[in-house]
């Protein structure tokens, strides 16, 4: 029983859902994460290693330790909350996709070898794109295609890396890999695409804002967090990750400030938060790694909460453009309050979940003497509060009154958001429970007077800057626009270059033809006028006769071959 992989439960449910309807289907949807979590909690302990032999391949579907168990609990929790949130959506495609997606995430964290990881890696890609395509617009279909290409490409890198790794070491086990080999780099790029490294992040900021109102909640929970898990297992302590993580934490906040689509703002802030995790993994000490995975845990919940509140706005208003929102607190006070809880959590206010997890990464930076990099991370921390903590609730729910009076969120959405908000506060106020789940033994406690005071100073004065900039009229207004990012390279630059290249080659070919044909013609002409032209061999023969002669020669060869040497 303890060797039953939890993803099997999700996949069975994915088969049952289309066969059922109404209340039964809802019960299956809600019960699956609970049953899976109970199964993991009661039957599955750290230290299991069970392999299956399929087609001469030894596949390890269950390899458990504290790291994989932490993520497994997280994914059960996230899928439970997201399922409640999406309960009123009666779309079989999305329901099945949600189960396969969450199940694949569970499969990936328990995968003990690279081939099993690859299988779930690709299943994550295929199931998640449904949430973008379900939007049904032509734009969403194109976006989904681009998203899928990136995701599948990541899988191709992973498979290539796995095969090279197997060739070099003779083992497919998914343990620490490191960057010492070609295989290591291939797998690193695969993980890098899924965790949205700079320049590889286009799929995220392109795809997530295009998904359905409920779909983005699923999307934000699994893909990048599976990648963070994979990085923590395969590449902990690789110093390059510190610098990649800091870049990820810093550059998106600039885009977030000027972006108008509030779900795209959240997508940028998702990259920013993953940046903190990647940095923690790069530092590689027990404290930093604990910080990275703890932050993944709280991020799934508070980012989910923020995406849910924006999902409610999208569901009720039909868009999430900051330029056309405002004053929604008047008709949806509960959603507003829940959004503020999410905003305080992502900003790492004391007593909220971001505070107890992010501070471990910051403390690890100090311990390892990365003092300049620490300043960058502090900048990123202040920036998070600015764009996600203030901008999201302010422009959606306050700011100028847009005149919109949408109804409060449906009850199931309120329950889901309320659950997430409660968890944000519970983790923030009682961090010992989260800490007890962390994989490495560390003695760390976030609440001391210095830490609380300095964090409050940082955040309150970031808010003061917002107030001041707004009063002075310096704050950039929300504008309907597109901001060029890495996706420009493959959406505009490359297609335009290829187009230009093709035109160049065509004109080059034409001019070469005219340049080459003219002298040949004159040679022909002068030859036909010369005395040589009257000989038989110099005549131009029809192709048919040439084929005939060649066949005769070939038959001669054949006969020679049979009779002379046979």
């Amino acid at each position: 029983m303890s060797e039953l992989p939890p993803f099997v439960l999700y996949f069975i449910a994915a088969f049952l859902v289309p066969a059922s309807r109404g209340m039964v289907r809802k019960i299956i949807l809600l019960a699956t994460p609970i049953v899976a979590a109970l199964h993991i909690g009661l039957n599955v302990d750290a230290g299991i290693l069970s392999t299956y032999s399929i087609l001469n391949l030894e596949l390890t579907f269950m390899r458990t330790d504290k790291l994989s168990l932490l993520f497994a609990y997280l994914f059960c929790l996230a899928s439970f909350i997201a399922t409640i949130f999406a309960l009123q959506v009666n779309d079989t495609k999305q329901q099945v996709a949600g189960l396969v997606y969450a199940g694949s995430a569970l499969g990936a964290v328990f995968a003990g070898d690279l081939i099993t990881l690859f299988i779930f890696w690709e299943l994550l890609a295929i199931s998640s794109v449904v949430f973008i395509w379900a939007r049904g617009t032509e734009r969403a279909i194109h976006t989904g295609m681009r998203y899928l290409i990136f995701q599948v490409l990541s899988g191709v890198f992973l498979l290539a890396g796995a095969l090279v790794h197997f060739h070099a070491t003779g083992s497919l086990a998914f343990e620490h890999i490191g960057l010492g080999s070609v295989a290591g780099w291939l797998i690193f790029i695969a993980f890098g695409i899924k965790s949205a490294f700079p320049f590889l992040h286009g799929w995220l900021t392109d795809g997530y804002p295009e998904a359905t109102a409920t779909g983005t909640v699923f999307l934000s929970a699994f893909t990048t967090k599976v990648a963070v898990y994979a990085l923590a297992r395969g590449f902990a302590g690789e110093e390059i990750l510190v610098y990649i993580g800091i870049t990820m934490a810093c550059f998106p906040i600039f885009y977030a400030v000027i972006e108008n689509d509030l779900r795209k703002v959240l997508a940028y802030s998702l990259i920013n938060q993953v940046g903190f995790m990647v940095t923690g993994i790069g530092i590689g000490t027990a404290l930093a790694l604990n910080g990275a995975v703890a932050h993944a845990f709280s991020d799934v919940i508070f980012k989910g909460l923020l995406f849910m509140t924006m999902g409610v706005v999208l569901h009720r208003v039909g868009h999430v453009n900051g330029s056309n929102l405002g004053g929604l607190y008047k008709s949806m006070p509960k959603t507003t309050a829940l959004c503020i809880v999410g905003a305080l959590s992502i900003s790492a206010f004391p007593l909220f979940s971001g505070f107890v997890s992010k501070s471990m990464v910051m403390a690890a930076l100090v311990q390892e003497d990365y003092s300049y990099l620490w300043l960058f991370m502090l900048f990123a921390s202040a920036g998070v509060f600015h764009h996600a903590g203030i901008k999201i609730p302010y422009f959606a729910f306050f700011a100028h009154d847009s005149g919109l009076r949408p109804r409060e969120a449906p009850i199931n959405m309120l329950i889901a958001m309320g659950l997430a908000a409660t968890l944000c506060i519970f983790i923030g106020a009682q961090p010992q429970y989260l800490y007890s789940l962390l994989p490495w033994e560390v003695d760390y406690w976030p609440y001391d007077a210095t830490h609380v005071l300095t964090q409050l100073q940082l955040l309150f004065f970031s808010a003061l800057a917002f107030v001041w900039l707004n009063k002075r009229g310096i704050y950039p207004p929300e504008l309907r626009s597109t901001n060029l990012d890495a996706e420009w390279i493959y959406r505009k630059f490359l297609p335009a270059s290829i187009h230009r290249g093709l035109i160049f080659f065509r004109t080059a070919r034409e001019s070469a033809m005219t340049a080459a044909i003219a002298p040949m013609r004159s040679i022909c002409r002068s030859f036909s006028q010369s005395s040589m032209a009257k000989y038989h061999l110099s005549e131009s023969w029809p192709t048919g006769s040439m084929v005939l002669w060649i066949s005769i020669i070939l038959v001669a060869y054949l006969l020679l071959d049979i009779f002379a040497y046979g």
Binding site: I258, S371, H386, T450, L453, Q457, F461, S462, A465
Partner: protein, 84 residues
């Protein structure tokens, strides 16, 4: 009736906004004063500067917004830029 329904929303009254901001400023001032009264333990050189975190938070956000605004000149395009 319309007067009444307007006044039910808390921030429609400018005085409430003012009150909120005043409370906010007071907290900011208290936080800076606390920095001088309370001896916080420091590990890094920067942290020894009085009210370092407060100044850094403020300056960081102003720099962030000003740079982002300048960035708009380079990266901003029409909303349907990619659809054309």
């Amino acid at each position: 009736m319309s007067e009444k329904s307007k006044s039910t929303h808390i921030f429609d009254n400018p005085r409430n906004v003012e009150r909120l901001l005043k409370g906010f400023y007071v907290i900011c001032i208290i936080l800076v004063i606390a920095d001088f009264i309370f001896h916080r333990h420091t590990t890094m050189g920067w942290e020894k500067i009085p009210a370092f975190y407060a100044m850094y938070g403020f300056v960081a956000c102003v720099v962030l917004v000003v740079l982002a605004k300048m960035m708009r000149k380079v990266v901003m395009r029409k909303e349907n830029y990619y659809d054309e």
